[in-house]
Every structure is written in structure tokens, then in C-alpha cells.
Symmetry: C2
Subunit: 236 residues, 2 copies
DNA sequence: AAATCGTATTGACGTGGATCAAAGGCGTCC
DNA sequence: GGACGCCTTTGATCCACGTCAATACGATTT
């Protein structure tokens, strides 16, 4: 028995694939969203190497994606929240090229890719929104490269916190108070730092009155201060 | 007066947008490719902030893309060669979010984006190939994140050289001997290293007999050796 | 052929973040 | 409710890469 919650009813539609579609078109999209899938914390939505069949819109919960090398090193390539789309990496080779793992008990909408391409040949606004979503991912990745390639530890963490804050805001949550769903180690992997360095940077921010940190609970006390850390760079 | 060189005649079509299209479809694509544009060395194809109107397929030459922060720091996000597509970053916001700069005198095919979306609503194989190209960019970016986030200097350079070698091969050039079109500084920016570090890594590779380096001219002497550098990592 | 300029190499030294190590907080499972 | 395991914090030390500086190389101009 499927719980059939339509895109048209979904409060995430402004952030997700239905954005910009008119009601009739959203109904068409509804038909396409085959099913929902619940993923328990720490479980994989898909693994690197899995055949690619669908992309996924996060309906509840959150995920990380990571890439693993043969020698065991891994790199978290992103953290995804509700309304964001997972699986785009799989289109190019018909196989997924990263792992998607739930950070908490989560639920996704399964969007069979062949059918999405089909419908987006008919519905211009859907086609365009899908392209925007892919492009946004590319732009986001460039931002991460900038961060990894030319920022110091505290700048990276400040950028990370400001980015989270903004995304929580877009979802109607507090911009200044939230729970991290990922560990220090996962943050470190994403930011190209060791977990100890992440922890120390948090402590320093706390000492400077920028944030209040209590384990995974974060309160941002001085947003402009965090932004200043990002820009206050002498040169490179 | 336009030099009208058709996709159907182009020896890059296997690497580019026409891949997978049948001859009739390639003709349709031809009509869409509005014009070609020559870009001199060091000139911009587009700049961050420019309104987005078209994507570009590189017909001759090569480019770098970079992102610049307010404080002047910049990060090279990629090097592009013939057959590769530039401008995908612009779709998401209708404005380009990075700069594309020619590394040598180059020529691109201008592909007006509205028309590309139009045609790819009619031509399934074009739609799919375009999606693959975007997805490939995302996968590539994840690879760069891995490199920036968890590799040491020599591993980064080895990965870079092997990647170049493979791309030259795909274009019918020697896998083992080529000219770098970018400076040490640009390589460094891309790899998240300073130019001195890049230079030293080259020297070390040379000492170890892995490559012969003479300024921008590179000869790879020991491909397996370079690959070993990539994997021979104790742990993380 | 000399002068100039951008690029590359190499050396000496400094430092930010990694590594190693220990201890404390918190949730969870018997 | 006690013990165990995971996560986090913090300190001490190390080292890979950055920084600073000098020199060399090659192309281009005059």
C-alpha cells in the first residue's frame, strides 16, 4: 500500500522539481512520481556502481553523498536536505558514481528517469526546471572547489554554517538555530579538514562569540561576524 | 560571412553534443548552431555575471574556467578542450557564474540555449546526450572535490597528468607527450596548490623518471608509476 | 645581440592543519 | 542504571605545503 502524497500537496514544491509548473502540469508530474521510499538512518539510497534508473527528491530527512577511492579514502561531496534532488551523477554513465546515505530516517520520491525525460519533452517548464536543478548542482560544486582550493579552515567552516543557515531559512526554519545531522568527521570530509580541526574551529568561533555550539546543536549569534571571516582575507 | 562548418562534418562529433544522433538529427542540430566565435588567447568567452544565452562547444583550442571572490582570490574550476561544452553554469540563474578564458587562440560553436531546449524536446537522443553532458560535469566536479579534499600534492598532480593524457588520447593525440596550455600558477589554482609546489612536484616526478618536463612540454615516461602514486596511499 | 617581461625552478624558513594521544559527554543496549 | 561505544574536545608535537627570495629560462622586442 502506497502513501500517495501528491506533488501538488507538497509544501516543498517551490524548492523542488515542480517549481514553475502550472497546476495541470504538476498533476502530470504526480503521475510520474512512481513511489516513495523510506530510508533509515545510515542506510544507502544508492551505492556507487548501482545501475541508474531514477532520480530522487528528498521529501523528509537528509542525506550525504560521498565518493570512495580504492585505497579507502573517501570524500563527502555534499549534504542534501528536503526538496533537493539526488542521483544526477548517474545519468552520465547509466551507473551511480557516488553513494547516497541517509543522515536520519528519511523519505524520498522516486522519479523514474526515462519517464522524466519523456514528460520533459512535453512540458517545457518541467524541462527547464530540471535543467536549472542540474546547473545549480554544477554551480554549487564550483563553490565547494573554491572553498577546498583556496580557503583556510575557519573560512571553510564559516561558509558551511552560513550555507546551512540559508538553506534552513528557505525551508521555513530558524536561520540561527539548528541541529547538525552530520558528525564532525563528515563535516571535515566535506570541508577537506580533519575532525579535530573542525572541532577546534567550532571552539574558536564559540570563544569569539560568533556561535554557541553544544555538540550538534548550533546557535548562530553573529551572522555578520561569520561573513566577515569569509571576506577578511588579506590576499592569496 | 560565416564559415559554416557543420556538426556532420566535424571530427569532434563523437565527443560533443551530436554523439548518438542519427544523420538526420545531426542536420537539425546543425541548423541550431547559430554561429562560431573566435576567441583570442587570454580573452574571455564570457564573464561571471553576463546574461546567459548560449552554451558553447569548443571547436578548436582550449579554455579555463574560474571563479573569483570579492577579496580577489580565485579558483580555476576546470580546463576544457575540444569537443567539451562550456557555459552550463549559467542555466541555473540565467547568468554565468564563472569566467571562461581562452588558453590559446580558440574557436567555439555558439548554441543558443532556448533553441537547444526546443530541439531537445523533439529529438530524444539529443535531449539524452545533453543530460549526459551535464551529468558528466557533475561527476567530474566530484572527482575534483576528492582531489582537493583528500589528496596530497603529488597525488593531485599525478591525477591531473593522467586525466590530461586520457583526454588527449580521446582526441587522437599522443597519450604520453603533450604541451600544457596553462601556467604553473593556473595548474596550482586548479589543484589547490601554490605554483612553487606544482613546480617542485614536477621536478620530483622528473627525478624519479616518471615524466620528462621541459617547461610546458611534458613527456610521460611511466604511466603505471603515476598511477601507483595515486593509489599508494597508506590510509587517510 | 641586448634588454625586457612573464614564467619556471630552487633554496631556506615558517606555519596551519594533521597526527597522536588522552579524557570527557551522551545515547543506547542490556 | 551501569557499561559500553561513539562522538567530541583539547593538548602536544610534527610535517607538508606555503611564503619569501634569488636566480634562471625563453620568447619577444628593439
Amino acid at each position: 500500500m502506497e502513501i500517495k502524497t501528491a506533488c501538488s500537496q507538497c509544501n516543498l514544491r517551490e524548492l523542488c522539481l515542480p517549481f514553475g509548473l502550472d497546476p495541470r502540469e504538476v498533476d502530470q508530474l504526480d503521475e510520474l512520481v512512481g513511489s516513495r521510499r523510506k530510508i533509515k538512518r545510515q542506510q544507502h539510497l544508492y551505492r556507487s556502481g548501482d545501475p541508474f534508473e531514477a532520480i530522487y527528491a528528498i521529501r523528509a530527512g537528509s542525506f550525504k553523498t560521498d565518493v570512495i577511492l580504492e585505497d579507502g579514502r573517501d570524500q563527502v561531496t555534499g549534504f542534501q536536505m528536503t526538496g533537493e534532488v539526488l542521483g544526477l551523477d548517474g545519468i552520465s554513465s547509466e551507473h551511480h558514481s557516488c553513494n547516497a546515505i541517509a543522515l536520519e530516517d528519511s523519505e524520498v520520491c522516486v522519479i523514474p528517469f526515462v519517464r522524466l525525460e519523456e514528460l520533459s519533452r512535453q512540458v517545457e517548464s518541467l524541462q527547464h526546471q530540471f535543467h536549472k536543478i542540474m546547473s545549480r548542482e554544477i554551480v554549487r560544486d564550483h563553490g565547494v572547489m573554491m572553498l577546498l582550493g583556496s580557503m583556510r579552515a575557519e573560512e571553510r567552516l564559516a561558509a558551511f554554517l552560513l550555507n546551512l543557515s540559508q538553506r534552513f531559512t528557505a525551508r521555513g526554519f530558524s536561520p540561527s538555530e539548528f541541529h547538525l545531522r552530520m558528525t564532525r568527521d563528515e563535516i571535515g570530509s566535506y570541508l577537506g579538514l580533519k575532525l579535530e580541526t573542525v572541532s577546534r574551529a567550532f571552539s574558536r568561533f564559540q570563544d569569539e562569540g560568533l556561535v554557541a555550539v553544544q555538540q550538534k546543536h548550533i546557535r548562530i549569534l553573529d551572522t555578520p561576524g561569520l561573513k566577515r571571516i569569509l571576506n577578511h582575507h588579506a590576499s592569496n
